[in-house]
């Protein structure tokens, strides 16, 4: 019996030595076959156990298990060592210089004027408005008469307004988005909550703040019981949202033929914060004009057949180029129409 024990101890010692001396995964594999394979000492001892009496078989069997466990553990440890080393080599082989340039998919931009329109439209959608668009080539009837423009108003002259050939000034390029107020009210009854972005045209000489074709955004809210306080609340919310929530906003009485009372909205200068002195943006006034607005003139309601005693509303209009220029510090609005990539690229992200 001691013979079997001796053989097991030999198997242990030999096995451990083989595992220890294995230099690579292949020789480790060979060591595994030699120590744990069917022909190995350990297996042979086990297969001879049947001839041993019961008490001893238990004891020898326990020893065999112990030897097997120890050899397996040694093999596993050695294998992990080899695998780790192999991976180490692989990582080294596969190393890249992460500072080399990436394979960048081409990426364009949305135009800043589009972005500005989206931003403004989204604010009003949040306040419960929908968006509409209207014709740029418009009837003078809508562009002027319907919105209360006097027959002799200078804006109607062919010096200021583009007219379409052969129409005897009955068709013009709209000079404002306001005619859409009338088109919308004509085709639907109140309530109306709508914003209208779009191109407008005026025969202005080109300079850093004037273009003969530019963009406006018009807004109109008509419902029962709309007040000037609603105008103030809505447009203050808008202006703060665009220019800064901590800025002061004020309404200054003004004149437009299609609103009464009329006002312009100023936002506290976000460069000098109203301190004014030698500020180039607000020219020392401390305020920046951002839009024109007012309560819809009853004459407009009468034109479309709304009862001005029952309904009231407010309208507003703003220049997209101006808002975009203010928001991004663009000094010359002609840049918006040059489409110079060096300019456009700067509007990536939320800029």
């Amino acid at each position: 019996m001691s013979d079997l024990r001796t053989r097991l101890e030999e198997a242990r010692a030999e096995g451990l030595a083989k595992i220890e001396t294995a230099g690579d995964l292949a020789s480790l594999d060979e060591a595994r076959v030699r120590t744990l394979g069917r022909k190995a000492q350990l297996s042979q001892v086990r297969s001879g156990l049947g001839k041993v009496d019961e008490d001893e078989r238990k004891e020898i069997g326990k020893l065999a298990n112990d030897v097997q466990q120890q050899l397996e553990e040694a093999l596993r440890a050695k294998r992990e060592l080899f695998e780790a080393a192999e991976l180490e080599q692989r990582w080294e082989r596969e190393r890249v210089d992460v500072t080399l340039p990436g394979r960048v998919p081409p990426l364009g931009t949305i135009h800043p004027l589009t972005k500005t329109i989206w931003e403004i439209v989204d604010i009003f959608i949040g306040l419960g408005y929908v968006m509409a668009e209207g014709p740029e080539v418009e009837l003078s009837l809508y562009n002027f008469d319907a919105i209360n423009t006097p027959a002799d108003h200078p804006a109607r002259s062919a010096q200021d307004t583009f007219y379409i050939e052969g129409t005897d000034e009955a068709v013009c390029l709209r000079t404002q988005t306001s005619p859409m107020q009338m088109r919308i009210m004509e085709r639907q009854s109140p309530p109306v909550y709508v914003v209208v972005p779009g191109r407008v045209y005026r025969r202005d000489e080109l300079d850093a703040t004037h273009l003969s074709s530019f963009s406006q955004l018009e807004g109109l809210a008509v419902d029962e019981g709309i007040t000037m306080g609603d105008l103030k609340g809505s447009l203050s919310a808008f202006a703060r949202s665009v220019f800064g929530n901590d800025l002061e906003v004020r309404l200054r009485p003004h004149y437009f033929p299609f609103t009464e009372p009329s006002a312009e909205m100023d936002v506290e200068c976000f460069v000098c914060r109203g301190s004014g002195v030698s500020c180039r943006l607000c020219k020392g006034e401390g305020w920046i004009e951002v839009l024109g607005c007012g309560m819809v003139h009853p004459a407009l309601f009468e034109w479309v057949g709304y009862d001005p005693e029952r309904y009231s509303g407010f309208a507003f209009g703003m220049g997209i180029e101006r808002i975009a220029a203010l928001a991004h510090g663009v000094s010359d609005i002609r840049h918006f129409y040059d489409n110079d990539l060096r300019f456009l690229t700067q509007f990536r992200g939320s800029a």
Binding site: H111, M131, G166, L173, P253, P261
Partner: protein, 796 residues
């Protein structure tokens, strides 16, 4: 409108700081555009008398002027102007003086020492008038500081007056606003005029165009002496931007600015029989106006005329023949009320805007006509002497009635969103000189004759609102509705984002276009794009019509970027084109277009440079359709500009052409000076948006995997790939789920005139997996059809 505060204070006391006054005006609708104090920039300029003027020995255009400031030695200055004479008084900037644009030192001019400088009103910063030295009135004290003499230490407000408020185009009008804002009384000094009951006015007035001239008043002043105005009047006129001329003319201007009513002074001697006719011009009638221009009159122009010859263009500008000059002795003062429309059209027709026309065309005050004439007569009497006839010629056959408006004070509260007591509302309106009677929450308001803008209740509500202050209104939000973008609006947005994410830069280009653009695009007269909506009054030859294509604008932008050495340029625009219709208004069609030029991908350490090519353009069009959820469009070869003859395709959705894509013709590129090959596409969005399906329901996912099989065939070179694909689809149904052309080969292996096409087929059976044998059968079926229909051979 410039308002010097000291002048304003003659009409209302200003017991607040300038800052507060500016804020009150701003917030009541009279915006202050600038606050200036001319004196800040001026020091060391005093009144001097001219003693002698001698020629400069070395320069014909210069003179040497000896002046005295009253004490000490005479000083000699070199001067370039010649509009003054010995004995007259002028501003002298002494050595060490400071002017808005310069500092004065002793210097030599062409060899002569100049101890100081004589100043023009421009050099004093009073106006842009550089035409000569400012000649001061003879009563200006020698040595007196010019700042105090001309009141240059006053503060001047520059006000923006909105077109509905011509009544604010005067010191009186602004004072009225300020009086209401400060609750300080409006002061009106009585007019001190001594008329001569013995002197009868010879003036007779006849109005033959009463629609243009409802009222005409004339006063007669005899025996005036024309000379410079006193210093204070000169200074005030300069401070509001008017050049002083002579006492008689200056008085009419002074009253214009003070009371807001334009006046005119005629030399009575130029009207032989003292007969004034207010009439429309005759055909081809001409007048030479005060500015020296001879003007051909229009039959709608209103004239002030003598028996035959016109004297003035009514309410716009006087004629040079009847001008008051140095020798004028007797003066007719005209104070009239002209109809706004008539003046507006005349002023615009002749491109002639004057202080008078600006007030008449917006609406003057018909009731101030007599006061203004009396004020002018009184000032003329004081500063030019003469006797003023007591008799007044005042033709006012149909006095303009004052407007009466009812204001429901509760309605004002409803509109403004805040309740204001009736008493308070009445007080605001009375402060603006309206007549108000109050009963039961209703105000009966009589509108003064100078407020043409007040016509109905809402106009009074605005007056109440602006005096209460918009800052006193609550800030509330209306209920709103369900705010959202409509489907097409949302799709338009995602399309812009898609193209930007695919590497294109969104462009905004102008809406105009020209024949030259069409010609450079190669558009022929029979093509729809040749029919443009034309402007009657374009700004320039380059922009005579509305665009029918987005390409010219994009090509201009590509050229600009190429000049800036941009490596690759890829632009798109989503905007309208304008197509004439039989209706009054054109059709405005939404188009998405792109131009891609130069390298699409720059050469890098990983890969080589690749230029934009036809298939990039086509791929963009395909991805647009795919993103919209539309089936793959069909592409068929298209000829004709702007495209390369063999590298362009018409794009069709369900057999309707919706656009095109292709390489641009080299001649087109040359037309815009673009050097690099460029790809363009243009798609009409209208038909695509109209074709979009309603919300889709999903299909059940296949429960069994599909079989993937490749087929490679050899066909004649001119067989379009699309034809082979169609045969495969027809023959492969119903098991064929997908076809992908993955390889095209021409060369030795297939022989001349041939090409090989390799397709990947995805086969699938419904509700079961497709056995290999069946898959092979489908493949054989497809190959047989290809052979039969296209003469294809299976490639080994």
């Amino acid at each position: 409108m410039k308002v010097p505060l000291r002048w304003l204070e003659e009409f209302v006391s200003l017991d607040v700081s300038v800052e507060k006054l500016v804020e009150l005006l701003d917030l009541s609708g009279t915006k202050v555009e600038a606050v200036t104090k001319p004196s800040g920039a001026i020091a060391g300029v005093v009144v001097a008398q001219v003693l002698e003027i001698v020629p400069h020995p070395d320069a014909d255009n210069l003179t040497l002027v000896d002046v005295t400031t009253g004490d000490g030695e005479p000083q000699r200055v070199v001067c370039g102007a010649r509009n003054f004479a010995a004995g007259q008084r002028v501003p002298l900037a002494q050595v060490g003086a400071r002017l808005p644009q310069m500092e004065i030192g002793e210097r030599k001019i062409r060899g002569e020492v100049s101890r100081g400088m004589l100043c023009s009103s421009a050099e004093l910063g009073l106006s842009s008038d550089h035409s000569g030295i400012l000649v001061l009135p003879d009563d200006s004290g020698l040595g007196v500081d010019i700042v105090s003499l001309l009141g240059l230490d006053d503060t001047i407000l520059d006000l923006e007056i909105t077109p509905n408020r011509p009544d604010c185009m005067s010191i009186l009008g602004v004072a009225r606003e300020v009086s209401a804002l400060l609750s300080n009384e409006l002061k009106r000094a009585p007019i001190e005029l001594e008329t001569d009951p013995e002197l009868s006015s010879p003036v007779r007035v006849e109005i033959t165009a009463p629609d243009g001239c409802p009222r005409y008043l004339a006063r007669y002043v005899e025996g005036v002496e024309v000379r410079p105005s006193p210093a204070w009047m000169t200074a005030r006129l300069l401070s509001v931007g008017v050049r002083p001329i002579s006492n008689v003319v200056d008085v009419t201007n002074y009253v214009l600015f003070e009371l807001g009513h334009p006046l005119h002074a005629f030399d009575a001697a130029t009207l032989p029989d003292q007969q004034i006719v207010v009439r429309r011009a005759k055909t081809r009638e001409r007048i030479t106006t005060l500015d020296g221009h001879e003007r051909l009159l229009h039959p709608d122009d209103l004239l002030i005329s003598g028996k035959k010859k016109p004297l003035a263009i009514a309410g716009v500008m006087g004629g040079s023949d009847s001008e008051v000059g140095p020798h004028t002795r007797n003066v007719i003062i005209e104070s009239a009320y002209f109809h706004p429309t008539s003046i507006a059209f005349t002023s615009r027709r002749h491109g002639l805007r004057t202080e008078a026309s600006a007030r008449f065309e917006r609406g003057a005050d018909p009731e101030i006509v007599d006061t203004a004439a009396a004020r002018a007569a009184a000032l003329m009497q004081r500063f030019a002497g003469g006797r003023v006839a007591a008799e007044i010629t005042d033709v006012y056959p149909a006095p303009t009635p004052r407007n009466e408006i009812t204001l429901r004070t509760a309605r004002a509260g409803q509109v403004l969103g805040t309740s204001l007591a009736s008493e308070r509302q009445a007080a605001y309106l009375r402060a603006l000189e309206m007549g108000v009677t109050q009963a039961d929450g209703v105000l009966q308001v009589e509108v003064p004759s100078f407020r043409h803008d007040l016509r109905r209740e809402i106009d009074l509500i605005e007056e109440v609102g602006r005096l209460a202050g918009f800052d006193s209104l609550p800030a509330t939000l209306p209920p709103g509705r369900t705010g959202r973008l409509e489907r097409d609006q949302a799709i338009e947005r995602s399309l812009r984002r898609l193209l930007a994410d695919l590497g294109l830069f969104e462009a905004w280009t102008g809406s105009f276009m020209s024949e030259a653009d069409l010609e450079r695009l190669g558009v022929t007269a029979d093509q729809p794009a040749a029919k443009m909506v034309r402007l009657a009054n374009p700004m320039s030859e380059d922009e005579p019509a509305m665009r029918t294509s987005l390409l010219p604008g994009l090509l201009r932008a590509v050229a600009l970027n190429e000049r800036q050495r941009a490596r690759g340029v890829a632009l798109f625009e989503l905007a309208r084109v304008y197509e004439p219709t039989v209706e009054q208004l054109p059709h405005e069609a939404l188009i998405v277009a792109g131009v891609m030029s130069g390298p699409r991908r720059r050469g890098t350490w990983i890969g080589s440079e690749r230029a934009w090519d036809f298939f990039d353009g086509k791929g963009l069009v395909q991805v647009v359709f795919s993103a919209l959820g539309l089936p793959e469009p069909s592409f068929s070869p298209v000829q004709g500009r702007p495209f390369h003859p063999t590298r362009a395709a018409a794009v069709a959705h369900l057999d309707v052409t919706v656009g095109a894509v292709g390489e641009l013709h080299p001649k087109v590129l040359a037309g815009w000076d673009i050097e690099r090959a460029s790809i363009a596409f243009e798609l009409a969005l209208g038909p695509l948006l109209a074709a979009l399906p309603a919300k889709k329901k999903v299909e059940e996912l296949p429960r069994f995997p599909s079989n993937l099989i490749d087929v490679a065939i050899v066909v004649e070179r001119d067989v379009p790939a699309r034809a082979a694909e169609r045969v495969i689809r027809d023959a492969g149904a119903p098991e064929l789920a997908e076809v992908d052309l993955f390889d095209v080969y021409e060369g030795d292996q297939v022989g001349p005139g041939k090409k090989s096409l390799a397709f990947a087929l995805e086969l699938r059976a419904v509700e079961r997996s497709l056995p290999d044998a069946e898959a092979t059968a489908v493949r054989d079926r497809i190959v047989a059809a290809l052979t039969e229909q296209l003469g294809a051979e299976l490639r080994g």
